[in-house]
Amino acid sequence: MNGPIVDARGLHKHFGALHVLRGVDLKVAERELVFVIGPSGSGKSTLLRCLNRLEEPSAGRVVVDGIDMLDPRTDINHARQRIGMVFQSFNLYPHMTALGNVTLALRKVAGKSRAEADALGRAALERVGLGDRAGHTPGQLSGGQQQRVAIARAIALEPRVMLFDEPTSALDPELVGSVLEVMRSLRESGMTMIVVSHEMGFARNAADRVVFMDEGAIVEEGPPAAIFAKPTHERTRAFISQIQRH
C-alpha cells in the first residue's frame, strides 16, 4: 500500500449559515505525523471530525485506508475502528474501570471474547504505561493518566490512523509531558497520526508536516522547520509569533 492512508478532498462543512470548512484537501501518508495548527474557530476540530464522520461533511470526499467514509454503503461502525480518536476532554466512561473503557469496543464491535478483550486491553494499557491502573475508574486517575487511558482505548482496536484533538489542552502543565511521551512512542511504532495541538515543541521534534488552517481553509503547509522559521503567509507569521510569545 503506497497510497495515502487518509485522502480528503474538497471538504466543505456548513453549520446552518456558518461555512466552517471551505474546500480542504488533506492527504496523509502511512507513518506520517501531520500537525495541524490555526486560530480558534478555524475549523481544526471540524476537519478531524469529518474524517471519521462524527460530523457529516456538506461536500467532498473522505477515503481512509481505502474505505470511502461517505459512501452510504460503507459500514461506518466497522470503518471507525480503523480511525482512533482522542479528545481534549478525554471522554472516558466514568462508570467503568480503565480496562472496561479499553475493552468495550473490543467486545462489542471487534467481537472479541471477554478473555481476549481483557488481554488486548491490558496490553494497550501497558503500552501507555498504565498496566497497574487497569482496575481504577477515571475518577481515581489524574488527567494525564485519563488521557493515556483514552489513547489506550483507541489503540487497542489497532487503528490505521490516530486523530488527536488538542490532547493536552485540558491538562495541568506538569501532566502534559507524560501524554506527549506516549504520543511520541506511538509515532516511533509507526502509527499514522493527525494532531491538532498548541504544543509547538512537540511539533518541532515529532511532526513530519505542519498544516496551518485559517477560516476553514489550509493556508500553508510544510516541514516544521520551514513553517516555524520562515512562513510565507502573513497570517501564518502572525499566528506563530503570537503562539511563541506565550
Binding site: 471519521n52 462524527l54 461502525n77 466497522h78 470503518a79 471507525r80 475502528q81 480511525i83 482512533g84 480518536m85 479528545f87 476532554s89 471522554n91 472516558l92 466512561y93 466514568p94 462508570h95 468495550l104 469496543a105 462489542k108 464491535v109 471487534a110 483514552a150 482505548r153 483507541a154 482496536l157
Partner: protein, 220 residues
C-alpha cells in the same frame, strides 16, 4: 378506642384476608413498576429522535398521560372498554393504566437522565465503532440511570402507593382486602392494619431516598 381501631381479635381474625391483599399488592407492584419502567425507557429512547414525525406525537402522548388523572384513566378502561367489546378485567386494566400513566413519568425522568450525560460520551463510543444503540445501552443509560436514581426511586414509591387504585376495579390488593375485612367485621381495625403495612413497606424506601437526596446535595 383500642377496641374499635386496633382490636387484637379482629387483627387475628382478618389476617388471612389482609395477608392475601398484601401479597397481591407486592405482586401488582412487581408487575407495574417494570412495566412502567419499560414504557418509560421506550419513550426516553424515542425522545432522542429529533424528527418532527416522532417528536410531536411523543410530546403529545407524554403530556396527555401525565395530565390525565390515573384514577379516571383506570375507570375509563374498566368501564369503557366493555362497550368496545373488550372485557379485560380489573387486573389487566390496572396494568394498562399504569403502563400509560407511570410510563410517561418514568419516561420524563429517564429522558432528563439521558440529557444529563455529556455528548462527548456518545462521540467517544461512536468513534470506537459502537452503533447508536450500543452507545446508548452500554455508555449513556448506565450513567443516565445513576444520575436520576433519586427521581426514579421517588416515582417508584408513588407507583407502589398508586396500586391502591386497583381496589376501585375490584383487584384484591391490600386496600381492597382490608375494606372487605372491615365490612365483614364491622370494625375499622383491618384498615388501620393496612395503613401500618403500607407504612412499613414504604418507609425503608423513603429513608433510602432521603439518603440518596442528601448525598446528591452534598455532591459526589
Amino acid at each position: 378506642m383500642i377496641q374499635s381501631f386496633f382490636n387484637p381479635e379482629i387483627i387475628v381474625a382478618s389476617w388471612p384476608i389482609v395477608r392475601a391483599g398484601l401479597l397481591n399488592t407486592v405482586l401488582l407492584s412487581l408487575l407495574v413498576v417494570p412495566l412502567g419502567l419499560f414504557g418509560g425507557l421506550i419513550l426516553a429512547l424515542l425522545a432522542s429522535v429529533k424528527h418532527p414525525a416522532v417528536r410531536w406525537p411523543l410530546m403529545a402522548w407524554v403530556d396527555f398521560f401525565r395530565a390525565f388523572p390515573p384514577l379516571v384513566l383506570l375507570i375509563l378502561l374498566f368501564a369503557g372498554l366493555p362497550f368496545a367489546g373488550l372485557e379485560l378485567g380489573g387486573f389487566v386494566c390496572v396494568a394498562i393504566a399504569f403502563f400509560l400513566n407511570t410510563g410517561a413519568y418514568y419516561g420524563e425522568i429517564l429522558r432528563a437522565g439521558i440529557d444529563s450525560v455529556p455528548g462527548g460520551q456518545i462521540e467517544a463510543a461512536r468513534s470506537t465503532g459502537l452503533s447508536r444503540l450500543q452507545a446508548m445501552t452500554s455508555v449513556v443509560l448506565p450513567q443516565a440511570v445513576r444520575n436520576v436514581l433519586p427521581d426514579l426511586l421517588s416515582n417508584t414509591l408513588e407507583v407502589v402507593k398508586l396500586t391502591a387504585l386497583g381496589s376501585v376495579v375490584a383487584v384484591p390488593e391490600l386496600l381492597y382486602q382490608a375494606r372487605q375485612a372491615q365490612s365483614l367485621t364491622y370494625n375499622p381495625t383491618p384498615i388501620v392494619v393496612a395503613a401500618i403495612i403500607y407504612f412499613l413497606m414504604l418507609w425503608p424506601a423513603v429513608r433510602l431516598l432521603s439518603r440518596l437526596e442528601n448525598r446528591a446535595f452534598a455532591g459526589p
